[in-house]
């Protein structure tokens, strides 16, 4: 069964300047375990699409199912719950809270999920070690490099074991060497079974994904599979 399923998704903005059709009937299914790159020039509707599947926004019309839930019928609290349990966000600007250490940043989604402090600490530490930053748990964002900050953000996105990792230009603020490390981390996580949808305008980044979806003028103009969904079975360490 598809993790994400959209049918004829439309998003229309009523602005002072007139109606803007940001998304014009997108029907797309993304399977569990896939690694999808969403590409397109600015204004193509890829960000609107991301916001919709990230449950940050509601469609003007059409249907959207995430892990079996009909998202279009949920209220603000229902969306918040879905974002909390099913989705992990990774942003271009990391969006870490500057005042608290890495561990507390990673804990944040668990705070809203209502876990007690002890469970949160353990889980957050596990998540941090998953991205290789366990020993930096008590550093503040300011004391970490850009790549490390993004790793913390990824640990935060993973801490509630969501079914979907949504990354919006995750390498946009990083140098190419660090960007490659982050991309490798994504691939590794994907091999471990995390479904990833990644928005980028960088073709190099797009090549790392298993599937590439290209937007233009609010529609999908290309949907190409680069690697089979179950690529992890072909991964060298799994084949051994």
């Amino acid at each position: 069964m598809a993790l994400i399923e959209t049918r004829d998704l439309r998003r229309v903005y009523d602005l002072d300047a007139g109606r803007v059709v940001a998304l014009d009937g997108v029907s797309l299914a993304i399977d569990q375990g896939d690694f999808v790159a969403v590409m397109g020039p600015s204004g193509s509707g890829k960000s609107t699409f991301m916001n919709l599947i990230g449950c940050l926004d509601r469609p003007s019309s059409g249907e959207y199912r995430l892990a079996g839930a009909a998202v279009e019928s949920l209220d603000a609290d229902g969306l918040a719950r879905l974002r909390n349990r099913e989705i992990g966000f990774v942003f271009q600007q990391f969006n870490l809270l500057p005042r608290v250490d890495a561990l507390s940043n990673v804990e944040l989604p668990m705070v809203y999920a209502g876990f007690d402090r002890k469970t949160r600490r353990e889980q957050a530490l596990r998540s941090l070690s998953r991205v290789g930053l366990a020993e930096r748990a008590h550093h503040r964002p300011m004391q970490l490099s850009g790549g490390q900050q993004q790793r913390v953000a990824i640990a935060r996105a993973l801490v509630n074991s969501p079914s979907l990792l949504l990354a919006d230009e995750p390498t946009g603020a990083l140098d190419s060497h660090t960007a490659n490390e982050i991309l490798s981390l994504f691939q590794e996580l994907n091999r471990e079974g995390v479904t990833i949808v990644l928005v980028t305008h960088d073709a190099e980044v797009g090549r790392h994904a298993h599937r590439l979806v290209r937007f233009r003028d609010g529609r999908v103009i290309e949907d190409r599979r680069q690697t089979p969904v179950d690529a992890r079975d072909l991964a060298p360490e799994a084949a051994e």
């Binding site: 940050l56 926004d57 918040a80 974002r83 909390n84 969006n95 005042r99 705070v111 999920a113």
Partner: protein, 410 residues
């Protein structure tokens, strides 16, 4: 999010902008300090008045001699005494609700004991005095009825007099001389403290009425049986007004004053005077508290202002929190708790400052001041309420932010 954690995170947000938070709190600090200090000073003033009422004795009226006309010349009040022992007895006998009518004479006197001497006020009293003034001896005894009847030369000292004449030594059964008359000390009064007019009420000596009249004070009391004034104590406060009415009738009759003729005495309701003073002290403290409450309001507006700034500054943080699963109400309570924490800390600082100021005033002005637990609880509650009230709008604004917009904000 649990409350304790929410408060902890609010504290860290407040500490992140320590100076700004402190300046924001200042309004609340000053407001609460003003409330605490004003209420403390006000209730101190009220307590002072209350204790004066108590020191006077409750439900008391005083009959004093009035104008006396002698040969066409109107002499001032108290120039000559028109009141007598019999007037007091008649009042005790005939006026309803009277529990004590204490005639007394007073004057100044130099008391000598051994090598030391002391100038003080002397009162000639009968037994009713002690029950009317609700005042008793601490050591020794009061007069017995026989001593009063015979006018024996025995004396009871006030605390101040006893201390000045005898120091630490026991004055009982010692002899003191007043106008060369040797009085035997039979008792020392309980301490009473200051009067409404700042007089030391313990700087006093008591002798039996007749002893005072005949041997010590003399003057206008030469006419046998006349007294300076009469304290009249009633059983209940409601008895005072009708009691004064019937005393007036009784005394006019006894003094043969008829028709349009002026009273040769006057009667004052001391309890009423005390109540009026107490009420005005109350009004004063309410007024001061109201002024202080206005400054709390101003402090609240300061908090609202800074919370709005904070919401704007932290728009991205709010967007992120929404993205990772905060519900609008989580955001709202976060900012509400922050505003409330801010105002409550301000309140706590204000209590400290206010209590300090009240203490200082008490020390400087010699005024009793009392920081009551009630005032503290009220100040804490009120400052928390200010935080909730003025934090609500900014918190609501934060909660209504669109996560997409908020995340995009620089």
């Amino acid at each position: 999010m649990r409350l304790v954690e929410a408060i902890r995170s609010a504290l860290s947000a407040i500490m992140a902008n320590a100076l700004r938070s402190l300046l924001t709190m200042l309004g609340i600090v000053i407001g609460v300090a003003a409330v605490i200090a004003m209420v403390a000073i006000g209730s101190g003033a009220r307590n002072l008045v209350d204790s004066q009422i108590r020191s006077l004795g409750a439900n008391l009226a005083i009959v004093t001699p009035g104008n006396v006309t002698q040969g066409g010349a109107r002499l001032g009040a108290g120039a000559a005494s028109s009141l007598t022992d019999e007037d007091a007895q008649a009042i005790r006998r005939e006026v309803d609700g009277v529990v004590a009518a204490a005639p007394f004479v007073q004057g100044g006197a130099q008391v000598v004991a051994g090598g030391s001497n002391w100038g003080t006020r002397i009162y000639g009293v009968d037994l009713d005095w002690f029950s009317a003034r609700e005042w008793d001896v601490a050591d020794g005894r009061t007069f017995d009825p026989e001593e009063v009847r015979r006018g024996d030369i025995v004396i009871i000292l006030g605390q101040t007099v006893a201390r000045n004449l005898f120091g630490e030594a026991d004055p009982l059964d010692q002899v003191v001389r007043v106008r060369n008359v040797p009085f035997r000390v039979i008792g020392v009064m309980a301490p009473k403290g200051q009067s409404a007019f700042g007089q030391d009420q313990d700087d006093v000596i008591f002798v039996p009425l007749d002893a005072g009249r005949r041997r010590v004070i003399g003057r206008n009391y030469a006419k046998d049986g006349s007294v300076g004034s009469i304290f009249v104590k009633f059983a209940n406060e409601e008895d005072i007004e009708p009691g004064i009415e019937s005393m007036t009738q009784l005394l006019r009759q006894r003094h043969r004053i008829t028709g349009e003729q002026e009273d040769d005495f006057s009667i004052r309701n001391l309890t009423e005077i005390a109540n009026t003073a107490s009420a005005s002290a109350n009004t004063l403290s309410m007024l001061l508290a109201a002024v202080a409450a206005v400054s709390l309001l101003v402090g609240g507006i300061g908090i609202m202002n800074i919370m709005l700034v904070s919401v704007t500054e932290r728009t991205r943080e709010i967007g992120l929190r929404l993205a990772v699963g905060a519900r609008p109400r989580d955001i709202r309570s976060q900012f509400l708790i922050e505003a409330t924490t801010l105002s409550t800390i301000g309140g706590a600082l204000g209590i400290g400052l206010g209590a300090g100021a009240a203490y200082l005033v008490a020390q400087l002005a010699g005024w009793p001041s009392l920081v009551s637990t009630n005032a503290i609880l009220m100040a804490v509650g009120f400052s928390a309420l200010v935080g909730i009230f003025f934090g609500f709008y900014p918190a609501q604004r934060a909660a209504k932010l669109d996560p997409i917009e908020a995340l995009r904000r620089e």
